[in-house]
């Protein structure tokens, strides 16, 4: 559980980036953190991870104030996956790369092996355990980043633009793995994204930031109702949301929509 209470933040005595934000993310939620570039999404997530500390207000992770903590202290509670996977690849094999975190925590070799294997399996990388990480495809590198974070058994994962630069298949694979983690292991997922379709399709809750202010906190269904004007927050309604609203059909994907539309029109697929 992550909770922000009246959090304010600014970089280097500059303009405020986060203004008086209060929100609570419960265990097992799948939350999309949305907003235009520079709206404060990444800064808020960095505050959750203790990469930066609030100027005022408090952040609690699993009930504990993280004011005095460093990211390394939180790594077993919150996993953070950065945008660029190349900037953290360190080891010569996928296995060793994922084992870096547990080794930092000085776990026993048996525990390390178990946790790494579980993390690789969760992200579908078990067959690539001996591969050289830099030769992986971009999508696999992103999954490796998630596996590296998962190896510490965190209860929350924060993913910064995790689907950027991936093809449709890789995006789907990544999101399916994340959904599975959320549903089966009840890992809280906080997804920072510009992809409205992905947010609509996978997240149950949306938090929207606009110029450092929290302007929406509710269900994605409510946000993407097809008629709400999101332009003032720098967002757009996904095409599927607009179509669903126009045809009064609730469908998360194009396939679902077509199927329901055919049924509605009395046709056959």
């Amino acid at each position: 559980m992550i909770e922000a209470k009246a959090v304010n933040f600014a970089y280097h005595r500059g303009e405020p980036v986060i203004n008086d934000i209060t929100c609570k993310i419960e265990d097992g939620e799948f939350v999309a953190l949305l907003g235009h570039n520079g709206s404060g999404k990444t800064t808020l997530s960095r505050l959750f991870m203790a990469l930066v500390h609030p100027r005022s207000g408090d952040i609690f992770v699993d009930g504990d104030n993280i004011e005095k903590l460093e990211p390394a202290d939180l790594a077993h509670q919150v996993g953070y996956v950065f945008q660029n996977p190349d900037l953290q690849i360190l080891e010569d094999t996928v296995f060793a790369e994922v084992a870096y975190g547990p080794r930092c925590k000085k776990l026993s070799e048996t525990a390390i092996k178990e946790q790494v294997q579980a993390a690789l399996q969760a992200m579908g990388l078990e067959n690539l355990a001996d591969a050289y990480p830099r030769t992986l495809s971009f999508g696999q590198k992103r999954r490796l980043g998630v596996a590296a974070a998962l190896a510490l058994n965190p209860r929350t994962l924060i993913l910064d633009e995790i689907t950027n630069g991936q093809d449709e298949q890789e995006k789907d694979d990544m999101m399916d793995y994340l959904q599975k983690l959320n549903k089966e292991k009840r890992i809280t997922i906080i997804l920072i994204t510009h992809d409205m379709n992905i947010a609509r399709q996978y997240a149950k809750r949306a938090i929207v930031l606009n110029d450092g202010n929290l302007v929406f906190d509710g269900t994605t269904q409510d946000l993407y109702n097809g008629v709400r004007d999101l332009k003032e927050w720098g967002l757009t309604q996904p095409i599927m949301a607009i179509l669903s609203a126009a045809f009064i059909i609730s469908a998360p994907t194009v396939e679902d929509f077509c199927e329901k539309l055919c049924l509605k029109e009395g046709g056959e697929r």
Partner: protein
């Protein structure tokens, strides 16, 4: 009054020489003039941070010299000289575009353009490198990296930050080399740029530099 990169480079080289030839009070006056000039050219947060960092570094240098047995006056003079030389380069970088410096090096100092380009590219990489370094540090911290412990422990654990950075730098330079080659780098680099012509201000500054450079010799021998 705008002076060319050539004149600025000559002035910086002259200042570097003066700090060793001139007496300490004169070097201190140069420092005051340099700082005033630097703050006139650029007085943003970054410049203040650079001056602050340089002050700290100079302090450390003085301290080290004292620890290793140098007299206080020698340590202070050494620190002052280093500070003046570095500030001269800060003024140069604040006042001139790196491309102009490279062009002056090729045109006036006849440095091969590949070397000039290497120099400017290295300088251009510094901010990128610093950003990458901060991101890598954050990324590794998020999966358990901590720089707590004694110096040796910290040094060893810092490899977790250095290694990805080196790999990234190699990959970046490879991409840059390839893209430069594809753009025809080396064929006529710096040949199609407007030549930097010296104007009255340049001649005036160069004359003053020459005068000041000759003064110590004149005062000593004539």
């Amino acid at each position: 009054m705008k002076i060319t990169a050539f004149t600025q480079l000559i002035t910086v080289l002259a200042v570097t020489t003066w700090v060793f030839l001139l007496p300490v009070p004169a070097v201190a006056i140069i420092l005051v003039l340099e700082l005033a000039l630097l703050l006139y050219i650029k007085h943003d947060r970054l410049t203040m941070a650079a001056i602050g960092a340089l002050t700290v570094f100079t302090g450390m240098m003085i301290l080290l010299q004292l620890i290793f047995g140098s007299p206080l006056s020698v340590s202070l003079t050494g620190g002052l000289r280093m500070f003046v030389m570095t500030t001269a380069f800060l003024c140069l970088l604040a006042a001139t575009k790196i491309q102009d410096i490279a062009q002056a090096l090729v045109e006036k100092f006849h440095l091969p353009c590949e070397y000039a380009f290497m120099l400017t590219t290295a300088l251009r990489f510094v901010p990128d490198f610093l950003t990458d370094s901060a991101t890598t540090l954050d990324a590794q911290s998020c999966r358990g990296y901590s720089n707590r412990g004694n110096v040796f422990k910290r040094f060893y654990s810092y490899l977790a930050v250095v290694k990805p950075l080196v790999m990234r730098a190699v990959a970046k330079s490879d991409t840059l080399a390839l893209s430069m080659e594809l753009k025809g780098f080396g064929a006529n680099t710096y040949q199609n740029m407007t030549p930097q012509r010296l104007c009255f201000a340049d001649y005036l500054v160069l004359f003053l530099v020459m005068l000041l450079s000759l003064y110590p010799l004149w005062s000593k021998y004539i």
